[in-house]
Assembly symmetry: C2
Homo-oligomer: 234 residues x 2
């Protein structure tokens, strides 16, 4: 019997890319801006979302899917502020699109204008998994050190926005904002950067306004007619 070699890995990757592309197109048509929020564990993703939810309260409809290996601690923190669904990976190091789609079906109060997928805390593996998002936002806390972009290059290369969190701790740590931005832009020259403190809300307004503007530019059905839109969301 002749042997036939099948490259399983390549086929799976191509299938996943196509599924993510299809999902992105669907979200674009629905006018939902979808953000994949990634970072190390404890960089402040959930606190940032709490602060964004407060800023948008009563004005921009936001929903959250939050991923973790175990527990529903993050969903519990967000529940008083936004419609949220916990995705539990059962040990896996990143979210897969299928889990996101499953969670989305259970998320109440749809449709949203902005849907944030808070990924598992991991600065490595989620970089390799397209969830159909329009924007990948990487949070880097001031306490992690300004040398991280170069040490975890794929995550910063595949992100469009970097949010430097915990700016209230900058006086106590050897983190230089300019050094972190420079290190990140060496990898990804078009990266936009914001500096935030989720407790005081400093910088959160600028980030939210940027995201609203992005949505209007790229996803608003009225504006999109006859306009050239960027490659990622067209």
């Amino acid at each position: 019997m002749p042997m036939k070699t099948i490259n399983v890995n390549q086929d799976v990757l191509a299938d996943r890319r196509a599924a993510a592309e299809l999902q992105r197109r669907e979200w674009t048509e629905q006018g939902i801006l979808v953000i994949n929020l990634v970072s190390s564990p404890g960089a402040g993703k959930t606190s940032l979302l709490q602060s964004m939810a407060r800023y948008w309260s009563g004005r921009v409809r936001m929903g959250v899917l939050v991923g973790d290996l175990a527990t529903d601690r993050d969903a519990e923190r967000l529940r008083p502020l936004v419609p949220v669904e916990q995705l539990t990976t059962g040990g896996a190091c990143h979210l897969e699109l299928s889990l996101v789609q499953h969670g989305l079906r259970k998320l109440p109060s749809q449709p949203f204008e902005v849907l944030v997928i808070e990924n598992v805390g991991n600065l490595v593996c989620p970089a390799s998994h397209d969830l159909g998002e329009h924007l990948r936002v990487v949070a880097l806390s001031s306490t992690e050190g300004d040398d991280k972009p170069g040490k975890y290059p794929k995550m910063f290369r595949t992100s469009q926005i970097m949010v430097i969190t915990k700016s209230d701790l900058l006086p106590y740590v050897p983190f230089r904002v300019e050094a972190a931005i420079e290190d990140a832009q060496r990898i990804q020259p078009t990266l936009s950067s914001f500096v935030t403190c989720a407790i005081s809300g400093n910088g959160v307004e600028q980030l939210c306004d940027y995201l609203e503007h992005y949505r209007m530019q790229h996803l608003n059905p009225e504006r999109r007619r006859g306009e050239v839109v960027d490659g990622r969301v067209s």
Copy 2:
């Protein structure tokens, strides 16, 4: 032609376990205490090792293998203090034993009494890879939040020691040391905990003395003769 099913995954895992066990036995016979130091990115592993190297300077011979996806930044920080070799995974999310063994052959000034393998900053994937270490030490920085053990259970379940780092920042963050220890011990009841500040050296002496004592108890060839030693290192 009849089909034969081979469980490739199980075979590979069994091979890796055997290789790690063999390496551990070799290090035990050589009297080298080997530590696998794991944490999130930016939890302060390299700073902790700098502080340990200063405490042991001229007294305990320590060597370091340091893993990263890219750059040799951590090795450069450690080089003035200890013999060190950078392991670059080229994007992979954890260290493999084969890469460790390859790096060890290039590490100067052997033999050591203590060899620390600083793993890639990732609180998920390195939990599943036995590098032949005697002790897995998980560092958790005070700025990451005291809720992390329950959210990343496998890493804490497979560790013997937890080091809470950056204790100098405790006054500025909502981290309760007791809550973190309680959360971790719910997963791993025999976990030993230390609280350290790498800048001032607070707590580093206690951690180092514990490791020296552990080595004397379990790896010292003179003491080991005729003694019952614990399952892991026997």
